[in-house]
């Protein structure tokens, strides 16, 4: 059974409003339909007022009388062998009278076969199933819950929110961003093709191994994708991480894991040049073209970093797409080491603002950041005592 209030495919989220209906129901009054005196007595002990009747026709009469007296029961307990027809008759009767709109039907689960039970649940025929032999003590708790639900419902002006697809959560303003991404990355890929070829040759000549480095990264909404770069390290570099953890620039004892070290010995000469010019990031234009990334966004995180950020506070960074450049890269130029918290809060700031003007200004600022990063040539690795110049990073590993 589907209901018409639920959002259609092409709609954004909907608030469903339901008319608050007048009700003459009497607090904690019940009607028991069945033949077990003991159960009725026990229910009676749990409620203020109650009536009992033996079958559905009699129940309808009683309900009619109670309705005249504006003493409608809030709960109807049915303790009869299951009959689809009877239940339908009762529901139709209740549905026709506005004053019964808040009345809830509890059915004794002992009276239902497994097939009946499935049918009752699937067709939403009752408000609750209870075992009237053993669970009467629990009924108070359930009723408490249902009452709280009802009062919440009234207090919040019956605002219900149901999201059936991602765009219900993000809106549709991303269409423009996507279009810009396709045009920019497409053009750039064509124009830069000669550069790509030269870099590929340089990488191949210097060290054994593939031209591209790829790793799985988490992008927008933690969508995992294959992320491409030119290879700047020796083959097998990822496996060296564990033996190098003590060199990590980030203090990881407090939570999120980020890994970064200075003067990384795994980097090749061509790699070092590519990194300092930002050219190693160019293959990501392909990720942008196929929609896994955006030109501007948050850094796509390796999975071991990303899985430490799935908390209520930090997960918001994943609301923005993964980007080649982003707010953090722009802000990062002043100090080489930005704390993990600062970095994530910048990501979150971007995710909240995320508009075209901001993207445009980040794009304009990006070349400047890369220029500043070109390092002063160092005199080689022999002088270990010389102060190490900290280099700002541009979205590196």
């Amino acid at each position: 059974m589907q209901i018409e209030h639920l959002p259609q495919r092409n709609s954004t989220y909907k608030y469903v409003k339901i008319r608050k209906e007048e009700t003459g129901s009497q607090a904690d009054a019940f009607l028991y339909i069945g033949g077990e005196k003991e159960i009725f007595q026990e229910l009676f002990n749990n409620f203020n007022t109650g009536h009992s009747c033996s079958d559905i026709p009699e129940a309808l009469q009683v309900l009619r009388q109670l309705s005249f007296k504006s003493a409608v029961p809030q709960f109807i307990f049915i303790d009869l062998d299951f009959s689809n027809e009877n239940l339908v008759v009762l529901k139709q009767f209740l549905g026709a009278e506005l004053s019964f709109s808040q009345t809830q039907i509890f059915y004794n689960i002992r009276r239902l076969s497994a097939a009946d039970k499935r049918k009752v649940i699937a067709n939403k025929m009752v408000d609750e199933l209870v075992d009237l032999k053993t669970e009467i003590a629990l009924i108070a708790g359930k009723i408490e819950f249902l009452k709280k639900m009802k009062s919440e419902f009234n207090a919040r002006n019956q605002q219900i929110r149901i999201e059936t697809q991602e765009s219900d959560l993000t809106g549709r303003k991303n269409v423009v961003k996507r279009a810009v991404d396709i045009v920019l990355s497409g053009l750039a890929l064509i124009i830069l093709m000669p550069v790509f070829i030269l870099i590929a040759l340089a990488i191949k000549i210097e060290s054994r191994g593939p031209v591209f480095y790829n790793s799985y990264r988490a992008g927008r909404g933690y969508k995992v994708f294959k992320f491409f770069k030119f290879r700047t390290m020796k083959v097998g570099a990822d496996r060296m991480i564990n033996s190098m953890l003590h060199l990590n620039k980030y203090n990881t004892s407090l939570g999120p894991v980020f890994f970064k070290i200075q003067n990384d010995p795994r980097i090749t000469k061509v790699g070092s040049f590519l990194r300092s010019t930002g050219l190693d990031e160019l293959p990501q234009l392909y990720n942008v073209l196929i929609g896994e990334m955006s030109v501007v966004g948050n850094r796509p995180l390796p999975l071991y970093e990303a899985s430490t950020l799935t908390t209520d506070v930090w997960a918001e960074r994943f609301m923005a797409p993964a980007g080649i450049t982003g707010l953090w890269q722009i802000m990062n130029r002043k100090n080489a080491i930005v704390s993990v918290e600062e970095r994530i809060s910048m990501d979150i700031e971007y995710a909240r603002k995320n508009n075209f003007l901001m993207d445009f200004s980040i794009m304009l600022n990006t070349p400047g950041v890369i220029m500043k990063e070109i390092p002063v040539p160092e005199s080689g690795l022999t002088n270990f005592n010389a102060p190490v110049k900290l280099q700002p990073e541009f979205s590196k590993m």
Binding site: M1, Q2, I3, H5, L6, V16, I109, K117, I121, A122, K124, V126, D127, E128, L129, V130, D131, L138, G141, K142, F145, K148, M149, E152, F153, R156, I160, R161, I162, E163, T164, Q165, E166, D168, L169, T170, A218, R220, G221, Y222, K223, V224, P256, L303, S307, T308, L309, T310, T311, D312, W314, A315, E316, R317, F318, M319
Partner: protein, 129 residues
């Protein structure tokens, strides 16, 4: 027919993430609070799995988990919890209320996907045998 998952979490980012992770294999419906969840459960077809934060703005301290697992109407739906509490409390409450599986924040979404798959497979097995 795609299996359907109802996600109940007040964090928009969490709901978005679960949509993204699960949508390829499942139909995902999400709601931000307990009231919307109950509205959906009472009016639409029952989902095949519920993934929820036990701490909701309108029903805190596992109140909704307790109701859903204790009600004969909904106890047939496996329920998975993503909890912000510590492991000890989460485990104790999960056992107490008969929760199918639980995760602690921060969690690895890929593991969660695996766990969801597992529950779905078990559900199919239950139906057949």
């Amino acid at each position: 027919m795609r299996k359907e998952i109802l996600v109940i979490d007040d964090s928009k980012a969490m709901r978005f993430m679960l949509h993204t992770i699960l949508k390829k294999h499942y139909k995902v419906i999400s709601v931000p609070d307990g009231l919307s969840a109950m509205y959906y459960l009472r009016n639409a077809q029952q989902p095949d799995l519920i993934i929820m934060d036990p701490e909701l703005p309108d029903f805190n301290d596992w109140e909704l988990v307790k109701y859903l697992t204790g009600s004969h109407l909904f106890s047939g739906i496996p329920l998975m919890v993503i909890s912000g509490e510590n492991e000890e409390d989460t485990r104790a409450k999960s056992v107490n209320y008969g929760v199918a599986d639980f995760f602690l924040k921060p969690f690895n979404p890929l593991r969660l996907f695996e766990a969801v798959d597992n529950i779905m497979v078990n559900r199919i097995a239950e139906k057949i045998y």
